[in-house]
Symmetry: C2
Subunit: 256 residues, 2 copies
Amino acid sequence: MGDVLATRPKPHTECASCRIRKLALFKGVALEDLQWTQTYRSNQLFAAAKKNLYEEDRTNPYAYTLFSGWVMLFKSLSSGKRQILRFALPGDFIGFQANLTGPMTHSARTVTECSFCAFPRDNLRAMFFERPDLAVRIAEMNARDMDLCQYHLLGAGRKSARERLAFTLLELFYRSIRIDLAAGASMPESIDFPVAQEELGDSVGLTTVHVNRTLRAMQKDDLITLTRRRLSIHDFDRLCEIGHFDPKIVLGPPPP
Amino acid sequence: MGDVLATRPKPHTECASCRIRKLALFKGVALEDLQWTQTYRSNQLFAAAKKNLYEEDRTNPYAYTLFSGWVMLFKSLSSGKRQILRFALPGDFIGFQANLTGPMTHSARTVTECSFCAFPRDNLRAMFFERPDLAVRIAEMNARDMDLCQYHLLGAGRKSARERLAFTLLELFYRSIRIDLAAGASMPESIDFPVAQEELGDSVGLTTVHVNRTLRAMQKDDLITLTRRRLSIHDFDRLCEIGHFDPKIVLGPPPP
DNA sequence: CGACCTTTTGATTGGCGTCAAAATCTGTGG
DNA sequence: CCACAGATTTTGACGCCAATCAAAAGGTCG
């Protein structure tokens, strides 16, 4: 509810923010142009883990580019059930929606500590008209998010528990290493994985209990290991097949 | 598969296309500007019911504005299972996605006879840069589609069969009367409903058999009637409550 | 160290899927 | 206008995947 966003200037590694800029909204934008957008944005913000950024049905004056940390976006039912729509990772743009001045259509909450930069939402339209390249870029980023949403709809509607989890684990794995891969690093076998099993369940449409049983079974089959906030994938090929996942979904087509 | 799109110049009512223009991509665009876009688009096209417009994983040179008829967009699994992502209704823009030159991320197939206008996809980017207002409009339409997709994800992940069907029936009802309502007509009690129960199932993530049983039960409870391609809604309030549906989702906030 | 999460395990239930077949509708050609 | 094939809807019996209920076992952090 009343979790407010703090503007602490301290706990943040400088280089993360810099690396992100190369992938986020301003990818490929010249430096002087970045100065230009300063007029449209406020300062860098920070939030602790498990803080609400904004809530469904309430207005929120900002949209954000996430610099570091994981955020979950979700919708809730009056019954208390919750569906996570997607996890936002560093570089993602969140809070953009059709009705820029109306109430939010979903809630956002930090999973880990996060840092981001906020854009006043009522400036966005003006900014797009002045900078069509940014508008196109937003449209494309949004289309990518849409694509992911459709994959998850396919999963929730038509896949078994194991298939859904395989897909989601692979998706988060590849998304989380994408930045490093782009920088030429080799593929790691494991990643930091700050998502609790309850949140995994809310993301794929299963109960915590069933998520636990299914993960356990997948571990016994030597597909993955998932312990104390760390995810290892042991058999990419088999897991991709089970989850109907193709790394290209996240990484894009391989360069020629 | 090889269902090709015919360019028949005949069976089409003129006024439908005209009404649609007021809601579609070019809503509020001056007439002379519409001429301008002629250079970017090809002629009006027609297709019979149950024809494929384009297919997942294959490239398709066009994006479309639908003028009349219903189209279903869906993803398939190798197992043959299918998930309908959304139904496109007159005025909707289809075939836009993050990777404009790459293969389609989903398939499209006509439900009824349809007419539409096609845009060469590789011109779209150029068009957006020349006309930022259209880029913004695309971004907004896309964001609205995204919002709907998220509602369906919530449904497939967290709602019961009856709740999902209530939502989808109401959504299609309101979307289908939206154009007439905007023209000042009063709310009808029933609409043409060309969607088979199998397709309803593929849309909400249920089997045909269970869709049938659930619809039947909802009819017994005097909520709806659904026979021979016609949907009547008898108790809007109760159905909205069951489906967690708010007409504002489709109609937007009421004018002040 | 103690309160509170998060994970794990067991027992039981139930909503929806699966399989099968009949009934009804649709449209197409004779 | 009827006959017939194929599509769509309807009904019944049965099974299973995942939900629910309950509680123990770790982990984490003040």
